[in-house]
Symmetry: C2
Subunit: 327 residues, 2 copies
Amino acid sequence: MGYRVDCLQYANWSEKIFRQMRDGNVDAVHVTIAYHENFRETILNVEAWNRWFQAFPDLIFQGFTGDDIRRARETGRTAIFFGFQNPSPIEDDIDLIEVWHRLGARFMQLTYNNQSLLATGCYEDDDAGLTRMGKQAVAEMNRVGMVIDMSHSADRSTLEAIDYSTRPIAITHANPKWWHDALRNKTNEVLCELTTSGGMLGFSMYPHHLNNGSKCKLDDFCQMIAKAADKYGVRALGLGSDLCQDQPDSIVTWMRNGRWTKDVDFGEGSASNAGFPEQPNWFHDNRSFARIEAALPDFGFNKEEVAGIMGDNWLRFYDRSFGPAKK
Amino acid sequence: MGYRVDCLQYANWSEKIFRQMRDGNVDAVHVTIAYHENFRETILNVEAWNRWFQAFPDLIFQGFTGDDIRRARETGRTAIFFGFQNPSPIEDDIDLIEVWHRLGARFMQLTYNNQSLLATGCYEDDDAGLTRMGKQAVAEMNRVGMVIDMSHSADRSTLEAIDYSTRPIAITHANPKWWHDALRNKTNEVLCELTTSGGMLGFSMYPHHLNNGSKCKLDDFCQMIAKAADKYGVRALGLGSDLCQDQPDSIVTWMRNGRWTKDVDFGEGSASNAGFPEQPNWFHDNRSFARIEAALPDFGFNKEEVAGIMGDNWLRFYDRSFGPAKK
């Protein structure tokens, strides 16, 4: 079997979930450790993870390199990789990128939904592209080996990040707009530029990103993957489930509102549908990956291609992305 | 030649000093990155070091393990190990010890001169020993592999740290009180307990710790080492010069006063002698270690013993101290 890698989760972590990772043979998960947290607050989230690593050493450990995914498989555990959905953990301090890389942060979104100090989020009316500090941050992330993630960013900012970055970037959790026209899904142009430059797309199973939302069929999802493989090449594709398992609705309110608004922002939801949406019936938790893996061969993928989508493509990307830039 | 390790410096760092480390064949230096700084302020000092590591990769790099001292020798560079002279960088947060260990902190004094949250400094009137958090911190430092350094701590706190710690501790920069009776030098009882428990003493060349201060003769210093070797065993001894090269006097004022007093504390100095004292004429900078190495054989040390004092003893201590505790 190939490796199983999920390139985005933000669950209400618990022993139950870590055991489900093991039951689901998930070798690696990229977990969000910051939405709007500043540097010191994000350190508190690292501390919480360190306590979980200490409490459940037979289930999970912190991953730093692609080889840690191989070590996870060999030792029957899941490697946990840290990432940010917002550059708030680096505040206004470019040197915090290297500090965070030392602490294990491997992905950083240049924006969440709003304008950040670095770039423009997909909910803003106007996108002025990478800021002055944004260009500095891209160069520094390239240098140390932290992946630029544009999952929540607006189009121009994303295209500029792809162009400005000397290393392939990622959209860890989103789907093509041509399949489901959502603000968070990506245009064909963005996905072409992303993948022709060596970047990776992780398909999201978050209902607001799915065709027909919570009612999306697994076949429809797999058909979309097959079409994306035709357009972008199968080796640029992986999964980034955006699984927010066991979270109370107060968390999606925090994700959307942080501390930035006096009004209430409903993001992809609405006043009448403000909470977390219901998961599709084929993807509930880390044990559900087997269903996707079992379905994919019916859509024209051979064994190696299925293994690539399920994790081997991310592993190859992790291998080349998390260390210093080659001179 | 054995390894050359200096287990305490706090210079006004510059390319000049890094080149002197190389000219002096110094393989490793434990550098202070915090006197009174809180967590975030100490991160700024890490960032400054990261910029030096990037600017002078042919001279210095960050050390994390004893093997980095061997790598320093092999590559003709100096390994820089981080340490704190005060527990202020962990604030009131026990989980910051593991975060700091990941960032490379390898020594932490439980106190500077005053009472801390963990223990009592040598300038307090009364010493109540390890605090409740102090005991937690010792256990956590033991777990992750951060060395307890009691250079500035009071006697009871030091004896309790030695007793409570399950791993050998260090006094990185101080001398015996029987040689020079200063508040910062250590009683015979403390040094016996330190060394019989596997701990290390680094001899200080800071004038206030020397017999006759700035006028101390090299022979007198070496004779003291010979006597200490008789009493404690040569393998427990190394150097911790406390070199504060090129620092303006405002820095010694900061070291003594931090933000804790409305009066002016002169520490080991006095109102009429408030600045940094003059270095002894045999120890000015990193090129001066050769003079000590050349002098020691006249005081009864064989080649292996000299190499031990100059750095091999610290290397052995680093090897066994900087990783997780063996189960």
